[in-house]
Amino acid sequence: MLEGILIGLGTAFSLTNLLMVIGGCLIGTFIGMLPGLGPMSIIAIMIPVAISIGDPSAALILLAGVYYGAIFGGSTSSILINAPGVASTVATSFDGYPLARQGKAGKALTVAAIASFSGGTIGAVLLMVFAPALATVALLFHSAEYFALMVVGLSAIAAFAGSGQVIKALLMTVLGLIMATVGEGALFNMPRFTMGIMDLQSGFGFITLAMAMFALPEALYLVLDPSRSKTDSGDGEIKDLRITREEARAITPVIGRQSIQGFLIGVLPGAGATIASFLGYAVERNIAKKEEQEQFGKGSVKGLAAPESANNAACTGSFVPLLTLGIPGSGTTAILLGALIALNVSPGPRLMIDQPEIFWAVIISMYLGNVILLILNLPLIPYIAKVLAVPRTFLIPFILFFTLMGAYIGQNNATELLILVGFGICATVLRFANYPLAPLLIGFILGSMLEDNFSRSMQLYDGIGFIMERPMTMGLLGLAVILVVLPSYRARRARLRAQGVADGD
C-alpha cells in the first residue's frame, strides 16, 4: 500500500496533473454554482476534453476534480441565493440560506468550506483503506459473480428511485440495456439491431447519450421555467468569514459523524450524495439537544455542517465501487466509467494491480483537490460568487453550444448532433413524466459488460446452470430480487393500511 501511495504521489504531483486538479476544481466550482446545472451535466460536457487529453490518470483526476468542485460550488449558490445548483446541496440551503439572510453569509460559507473539506478528506482516507480491501475480495469473483453483482447494482439504483418510481426506473434500466445491444458487439462480431443504418454500426455514442440525458433536458428546463435560474438577489457584501470557538466545537462531532456516515452511504449503489446529505441533516437534527433542534432550519451551523460533510464524503465513497468493482453506483460515476472505458482503462479489481498509478493518483489527487477547494472557497468566494450574475440570456445558449460541441468532438460527425437533439427531446419528455434518466444511462454503460459476463458464465457452465452451481451468484441475484420487490411490497402494505385493510401480520 505504501508503495502504491508513493506511485500515486509521484503521478499526482506531476505538473500536468496538478494543473488538472486545479482546473477541474475551478471549472466544477464555477459551473456547479450556476443554478440548474448538476454534476452529471458538467462532467458530461467535460468528457470530450478529458478524453482528448489521452492520459487516463490525468483525465480521471480532472473529472474527479470537476465532480467535487461542482458539489462545492452548488453549496455556495444554496447559501447565497437559496438556489441549489445540484440536488445534493438542497439540504445545505435549509440552514445556509437563513444564515445568509441574517447577514452571516461569510460565516456560513466558512462552515460549509470546512465541513466539505473535512468530509472530502475523511472520505479519501476511508477510500484508501476500503478500496484495496474490497479489491482483494473482488479478485475472487468470476464472471458469474460479476454478472450478479451488476444486476444487484442496477436493481439497487432502481430500488432507491423512490415510491411509485421503482418500475419506471427498472424500465429505464432495461431500455438502457437494450440500447447497449445496438451495434457491433465485441463478443459476436456481428451487427445487431442496426436496421441497416451505417451510423448505428458502432452503436450509440456514449457522450451523445450522456449529454442528451442530462445536459440538454436541464438546459431546456431552464428555458421553460425561468424561475429555476433566478440569478438576481445574489448581491450583498460577503464579509466576516470567521467562526467562533464555540461554533467550531459544535460542528466538529457533526462533521466527524457525517463524514463517516456519508461515505458509507456513498459506497452503496443507488444512494448518493443527495441521499447522504438529507439523511445526514435528519440524523443530526434528531440527535441534537432540544434547544439546538429549534435552531435547525433557522440558521444552525450544525444543520449546515451536516449535509456539507455528508455530501462530500459520499462523493468520495461513490468511487469505491467504481474503482474496485468497475460498477458505478450513481449516474455521475457511470459517466466517469464511460470515460474510463473510452480511454481503454477497465476499472475493476485488476486496476490496482495493473495500473496502480491511476488508482493511487486519483486518491492522492482527492486530498489535493480538497485543499485546493478550501483555498478557493475561503478567500476567493466573494469574487467567484460574481458568476451568479451572468444573465441567463447568455448562459443558456452557451450551455447548449457546449453540449453540441461535446457530441461533435466525441464523434466528429454532424449527424451525431441531430441524434443528440432527438434523444434530448425524448429525455425531456421522459423527465416530464417523472421517468428517472440516470438508470437509463447506467444501464447503457453497463450493458455490454453485463452481457459479456453473462455470456462467459453461460459458456463456462454450458447453460444457465451457473446460477445454481455458484452459491454467491445465487445469493446476489436473490438480493437483487429482494431489492426490487421490497419497496413495492412496503408501499402496497402502507397503502392497504391507509385504507384500513388488515394486512395479516
Binding site: L171, I178, L224, D225, I396, F401, L404, L418, L430, F432
Partner: protein, 164 residues
C-alpha cells in the same frame, strides 16, 4: 391517459419490435457451429425484451401507484403552454439548424450565429455585447479544439476554404 402511461405504451411497442427481431429474425443467419454454443447473439436481447415488456405492461396497467402530484420543482407538462415553450422550441430548431450548417457554413460563422440568435431568442437585446461575446467564444473554442486538442474543425465556409 397520463403521459407516463403513453410513454410506457411506446416503450412496449419498441420492445415488441425489438423482441420480434431477437426471437424470429436474428437466429436465421447464425452459422451452424454457432448453434451449438449455449449463448447466441440473440440470447441476451431475448431476456431484455421479456423484462421490458413486463415492466412497461406493469406501468401501462397501473400496477404501481405512486405519488400523483408533481413535485414543486418539476415542470408540470399538463400546463406546458404556461412555460416558455416557444423559446424552448426555437432553441431546439436552432440546434438542428446548427447541426445542418456546421459543415457548409464553417465553425466560426455558425457558432457566432448560434450564440447570437440563441441570446436573441431568450430576449437579449444588447447587440454589441452579443457580438463581442459570440465572436470571442467562437474564436477561443475553435482555437482550443482545432489547435490544442487537434480535432479538425473547418473554421470557414466551404466556398472560402480550399481543402474543406
Amino acid at each position: 391517459m397520463a403521459l407516463d402511461r403513453w410513454i410506457a405504451m411506446i416503450v412496449l411497442l419498441i420492445s415488441l419490435a425489438y423482441g420480434y427481431s431477437a426471437f424470429f429474425m436474428m437466429d436465421e443467419g447464425l452459422a451452424p457451429f454457432m448453434r451449438r454454443n449455449p449463448i447466441w447473439p440473440s440470447t441476451f436481447p431475448k431476456i431484455l425484451c421479456v423484462l421490458a415488456v413486463i415492466c412497461s405492461l406493469m406501468i401501462l396497467l397501473g400496477f404501481e401507484k405512486g405519488s400523483r402530484e408533481p413535485k414543486a420543482s418539476e415542470i408540470d407538462y399538463r400546463r406546458l403552454t404556461d412555460y416558455k415553450l416557444g423559446q424552448a422550441l426555437g432553441l431546439l430548431a436552432l440546434m438542428v439548424a446548427y447541426a445542418l450548417l456546421l459543415r457548409p457554413a464553417g465553425f466560426l460563422l455558425s457558432t457566432m450565429g448560434f450564440l447570437m440568435i440563441g441570446s436573441y431568442l431568450l430576449g437579449e437585446r444588447k447587440y454589441l455585447i452579443m457580438i463581442v461575446v459570440a465572436a470571442m467564444a467562437a474564436g477561443i473554442v475553435w482555437y482550443l479544439v482545432d489547435q490544442v486538442l487537434g480535432i479538425f474543425l473547418s473554421p470557414l465556409p466551404t466556398f472560402l476554404s480550399s481543402g474543406g
